[in-house]
């Protein structure tokens, strides 16, 4: 394992992963650098946690990598890793990291991805209200100069602040 101080390329990879919310760091802020699969593999030599999140990125966030799919097709090692990720014994190691940790990190990335998607999605609901409540909602909307959906969203935001 390389213990040297992070090179500029490693810094860029870390900043991109922090930007994507895949890593947290005490010294780097997120920046949207263009990074490739080769950059990640090289940076992983000095910061193994980059390698830990790599299978998760390839499975659930492939757009983080520039030309990631093309590079993945050219790498039998990584294709095998993704194939074996959920079937290999937990103690099997890939570049010194146990498969259990890689699997865990990939599952966490999938969980965060699902959460972000669900937050961004708009849903329609039918709600049952009394005539009086409907009149009150109309009055509130009229007073605020907004539509009824906006009023409901504002009330939810107020209740949660």
């Amino acid at each position: 394992m390389d213990h040297t101080i992070a090179t500029q390329a490693t810094e860029r990879v870390i900043e991109r992963l922090v930007y994507e919310g895949l890593l947290v760091h005490n010294q780097y802020r997120g920046r949207r650098w263009r990074v490739t699969l080769a950059d990640l593999l090289a940076a992983g030599r000095s910061e193994p946690r980059i390698l830990e999140v790599l299978p998760g990125i390839l499975l659930h966030r492939p757009t983080v990598l520039y030309r990631g799919e093309r590079d993945l097709r050219a790498s039998p090692e990584l294709q095998k890793l993704l194939r074996d990720l959920h079937s290999a014994a937990p103690t099997t190691r890939w570049r010194g990291l146990p498969m259990q940790d890689l699997r865990h990190a990939a599952d966490r990335i999938a969980q965060l991805q699902r959460h972000q998607r669900s937050k961004g999605r708009w849903r329609n609901i039918n709600i049952r209200v009394s005539e009086v409540d409907l009149q009150r909602l109309d009055a509130l909307a009229k007073r605020a100069g907004r539509n009824k959906s906006d009023v409901v969203r504002d009330l939810i935001a107020q209740a949660n602040s």
């Binding site: 005490n26 910061e47 193994p48 990291l97 966490r108 969980q111």
Partner: protein, 161 residues
């Protein structure tokens, strides 16, 4: 991340307060408070402002008894800031005399951060390859820590000197 995590606990407290209020009004059982959480692992190092670079995945390792509703609430709030609450608390090992520093103090929620020295001791005990670079950097900056950890009967010889 430190500020966002602090805000997250503030919000957690506000929501718990509301749960307690509702429970009292309805005559049901309120959540047990105050809740005390000990943050350990990589996140404790990130929050502790160490002078060395510390990267971590999005897991938050915390020790503490959380009832199901409180844990669900905290998990949802952490997901909003891109963190996942580690579910396998039983796998965490910290030295029995670990020092915890108060970090967030509220009437219902108390959060302590483990002293970095004890987090490092825990990492030395697990002997994971991914921690080797971090531990080598830590011992380069705090050489006296190695002796203290060895006095706890935890081997540090596996880390490259």
């Amino acid at each position: 991340m430190k500020g966002r995590l602090f805000q997250c606990f503030r919000l957690f407290e506000a929501r718990l307060q509301r749960q307690v209020k509702v429970a009292r009004r309805e005559g049901s059982v309120p959540p047990k408070t105050p809740l005390t959480l000990h943050i350990v692992g990589q996140m404790a190092l990130i929050v502790s402002d160490l002078p060395i670079p510390v990267a971590g995945t999005t897991d938050l390792d915390a020790i503490g008894l959380l009832e199901y509703p409180a844990a669900t609430l905290l998990r949802a709030l952490l997901l909003d800031i891109g963190l996942t609450l580690e579910t396998d608390q039983h796998l965490i090992w910290m030295p029995s005399h670990t020092k915890y520093h108060p970090w967030y103090r509220g009437p219902l929620v108390r959060v302590d951060i483990a002293d970095p020295l004890f987090v490092i001791a825990s990492k030395c005990k697990f002997q994971r390859a991914k921690d080797r670079a971090l531990l080598a950097q830590y011992f380069a900056v705090f050489p006296e820590a190695r002796k203290i950890i060895e006095r706890m009967r935890i081997a540090t010889s596996w880390i490259t000197p």
